[in-house]
């Protein structure tokens, strides 16, 4: 197979550890019902904060999910990632030995890496000094542990990339994993992401004025910001032909992706650059705007993001906007995992035939212009064929993936 040779790529396994439950199907069912995973913060003392809600995973029991990792040696984000990857591999219903013997690896996205570990170390620094840092905890701090945990848990020997392009990171990993399988660099890849709720991020978003008090309502007239959130998500990718041959359940086909950078501002997004990213994704996937049946929005619920995002979509789609919704209304902003959860729900939507909703919408913001169908309330039965998944980030790091129904 020459370099650049192309094979089709299927998603055949999905794994989720989320505030709406463990496992992709549990998660997707909750999303369809428009349920909320948001609750009062427990993972740190939030009493000094004006706003105290987040999308935390309260029932995370890694010891029930993981087979190889020693729980006490890994940070929370790594455990989220490895657990989601284990679930995705099980969901793919493939012989784990076949996967670990093949050229197989992982690419996992994150925004703040092992933030909970870094906060524990910071606490030791404040209370005793840097000389009092616990060496065992120090070992858990590097962000690269996240993808390494996936390879260690699944016994993979291929590449293990932790891609830290903040809140578009999971889409970066899906694009890269797709290229690896498509070109024959890898036989199997895990893509996804993980992040943990932490005090510093909560403080940072609050001070930026980007945090909602307790409800995230993207596209709504009265939207006020994000809710910080956490979790782990993983997609198992393999060659389409091989998936068909082994009779695998194919959730979706990865059709392509686009990535670019605004190169303008650390936190303010740029609609023209996002529109360019959408066009790049369409070119890469070989699709046209009229082929897109649904957009899984970045949809953070800040006034700026949603207005910018709809403006960018209009630049490409004109006034024929496909339905565009945000699952962040239910799980909050899971940061580096966010576009991974988006990709997962896109796969489920293509496979099971529905559009994910935007919860908490009472009035779609008229300032967004006409024709914005944000699927308010609960999921809608539909038969999307090709969908588009958005991920944007601080620094203007845009990444958009295109997924299609298996056919």
């Amino acid at each position: 197979m020459p370099e650049g040779a192309s094979r089709r790529v299927a998603v055949t396994g999905l794994g989720a550890v989320s505030s709406l439950g463990t496992g992709a199907h549990t998660f997707a069912q909750a999303i369809r019902e428009g349920r909320s995973g948001v609750s009062p913060i427990r993972s740190f003392d939030a009493s000094g904060f004006p706003y105290t809600f987040a999308g935390e995973v309260h029932d995370f029991e890694p010891e029930r999910l993981l087979r190889r990792l020693r729980i006490d040696e890994w940070g929370r984000s790594s455990l989220f990632a490895a657990s989601a990857a284990r679930l995705a591999l099980m969901d793919a219903d493939i012989d784990p030995g076949q996967v670990s013997a093949a050229r197989a690896g992982s690419a996992m996205g994150t925004t703040l890496g092992e933030s909970a570990v870094i906060e524990a170390l910071t606490s030791q620094w404040v209370h005793g000094g840097l000389k009092d840092l616990d060496p065992a905890l120090v070992r858990q701090a590097p962000a690269g542990r996240i993808a390494t945990a996936v390879n260690a848990e699944l016994g993979l020997t291929g590449e293990a990339h932790t891609i830290a392009t903040a809140c578009s990171a999971s889409n970066y990993t899906l694009g890269y994993a797709y290229d690896m399988v498509r070109t024959g660099e890898a036989e199997f890849m895990i893509s996804g992401g993980a992040d943990s709720v932490n005090r510093w991020e909560h403080a940072g978003f609050y001070r930026l004025g980007a945090l909602a008090e307790s409800v995230c309502r993207p596209f709504d007239t009265h939207r006020s910001g994000i809710l910080t959130a956490e979790g782990g998500v993983a997609l198992f990718l393999e060659p389409f032909e091989g998936a068909v041959a082994r009779g695998a359940r194919i959730y979706a086909e990865v059709l392509g992706y686009g990535v670019n950078c605004d190169a303008r501002h650390p936190v303010a997004p740029d609609p023209t650059s996002i529109a360019e990213c959408i066009r790049a994704a369409h070119r890469n996937a070989g699709v046209r705007p009229e082929d897109i049946d649904y957009i899984c929005a970045h949809g953070t619920g800040t006034p700026t993001n949603d207005a910018t995002e709809v403006k960018a979509v209009r630049e490409v789609f004109g006034d024929a906007l496909p339905p565009i919704s945000s699952i962040k209304s239910m799980i909050g902003h899971t940061m580096g995992a966010a576009s991974g959860f988006g990709a997962l729900i896109c796969c489920m939507a293509l496979h099971d035939g529905f559009l994910p909703p935007t919860a908490n919408v009472t009035e779609t913001d008229p300032a967004l212009g006409s024709g914005v169908d944000c699927v308010p309330g609960t999921g809608r039965a539909a038969s999307p064929r090709i969908v588009q998944n958005h991920g944007f980030a601080f620094g203007g790091n845009n990444a958009i993936t295109i997924l299609g129904r298996a056919a």
Binding site: H161, G184, C261, A263
Partner: protein, 368 residues
């Protein structure tokens, strides 16, 4: 079944390096020939350091390269990488046209971004009267992609913008990531490299870990390269400084670093179309790491029969720089070639981490 094929070479046409040897390849080459390293200026960095050898970039003056505007709010990680990026682009001769900048990406290896920025930001939430009384303008610095996105902003580079946090192998992983982005047409070229800053947080981490040999210094640095296809370089009239052949990375070292590295080197050579006997030099990574250093050498021996005649140990010159190590090793190699050192035309750059991640990149001096 995955087929192992030969990869097309990419070329380095620009190089910027900032290290405890100084700014540029010349001071790095001088360090190789043993002119010694300056005493680290820790006052310029600030904070309390552990009692151990340290290596810092002497007299880092980013304003000389970047101007004064907007640099004060940048952390040291970003300053180091911006200066290296500035030097890499300056080395191209003519500046990139605007349409070329739209097709230029940034791929930067990092351990955890600026760990100083994130832990100092986190500290504010504990020591302020209220936990939310943090300085919002410093929040983006605490996010790992800050450095790569600043490189894009300062240089108007609008292509793929990736931050690769693969621990010690980050530098080589960045090369591998960039190779895919370029070969698959997402960008025409990229600034590719890695960075690590010296700070009290990471120095204490090394000190308490006991992972370094007594003589090994904790270092820092950034190396950034302009990487593109040879056709692209030729069309633009840019002369290659080196060819990047195959770059293989993975967790092959989880069960056995020696055996894993042997497999990795063999695969990289096969995919480069280079026979083992053609390798004239190796740049080793784990020089100052207990246990890992000998295992790395054994792993290379396993693939080549013996170590090649010329061995380079960049970390012995500039200190242990964790995620920047692979990129600084590549810079060390370019420095040797530029200085006319007789190390032969084909080098391996190997990288090993204590987490099982390992890597091997094959680099070739362009034919004269």
């Amino acid at each position: 079944m995955t087929t192992v094929t030969t990869v097309a070479p990419l070329v380095i046409t620009g190089c910027g390096v900032v290290s405890p040897a100084g700014v540029g390849l010349e001071p790095l080459a001088a360090a190789v020939s043993g002119t010694g390293r300056e005493e680290a200026d820790l006052a310029a960095i600030g904070g309390e350091f552990p009692p151990m050898p340290l290596a810092a970039t002497p007299d880092l003056r980013p304003e000389e390269y970047l101007g004064r505007k907007g640099i004060r709010s940048l952390d040291r990680t970003t300053q180091l990488a911006l200066v290296a990026s500035n030097r890499a682009l300056a080395g191209l001769g003519a500046p990139l046209a605007d349409r070329d900048r739209a097709r230029t990406g940034v791929v930067i290896g990092t351990s955890t971004g600026s760990i100083r920025s994130s832990s100092e930001f986190s500290r504010e939430t504990l020591v302020r009267e209220k936990p939310y009384l943090v300085r919002a303008s410093f929040f983006p610095n605490s996010v790992m992609n800050f450095c790569a996105s600043q490189i894009a902003i300062w240089n108007a580079l609008r292509g793929v913008n990736a931050t690769i946090a693969d621990g010690r192998v980050s530098g080589l992983a960045a090369v591998r990531y960039a190779r895919n982005a370029i070969v698959q047409g997402h960008v025409d070229r990229a600034l590719v490299g890695a960075v690590e800053e010296l700070c009290p947080q990471s120095a204490w981490a090394w000190y308490l870990s006991g992972a370094l040999t007594p003589a090994a210094a904790v270092g820092e640095g950034a190396a950034v390269f302009v990487v593109e296809t040879s056709e692209g370089a030729a069309a633009a009239g840019r002369a290659p400084l080196a060819e990047l052949l195959a770059c293989e990375v993975g967790t092959l070292g989880m069960s056995d670093v020696r055996r894993g590295l042997t497999v990795c080197v063999e695969r990289a050579l096969r995919r480069s179309g280079v026979p083992a006997e053609a390798v004239t030099a190796v740049s080793l990574s784990a020089t100052g790491l207990r246990g890992l250093g000998p295992a790395e050498e054994d792993g290379v021996r396993g693939a080549l029969g013996d170590l090649p005649p010329h061995r380079m140990r960049t970390a012995a010159l500039v200190g242990e720089s964790f995620s920047a190590s692979g990129a600084l090793q590549i810079a060390g190699l370019l420095a040797e070639w530029r200085a006319g050192a007789a190390i032969g035309p084909v080098a391996l750059v190997t990288s090993v981490g204590d987490d099982g991640n390992i890597g091997c990149l094959v680099v070739r001096r362009p034919a004269l």
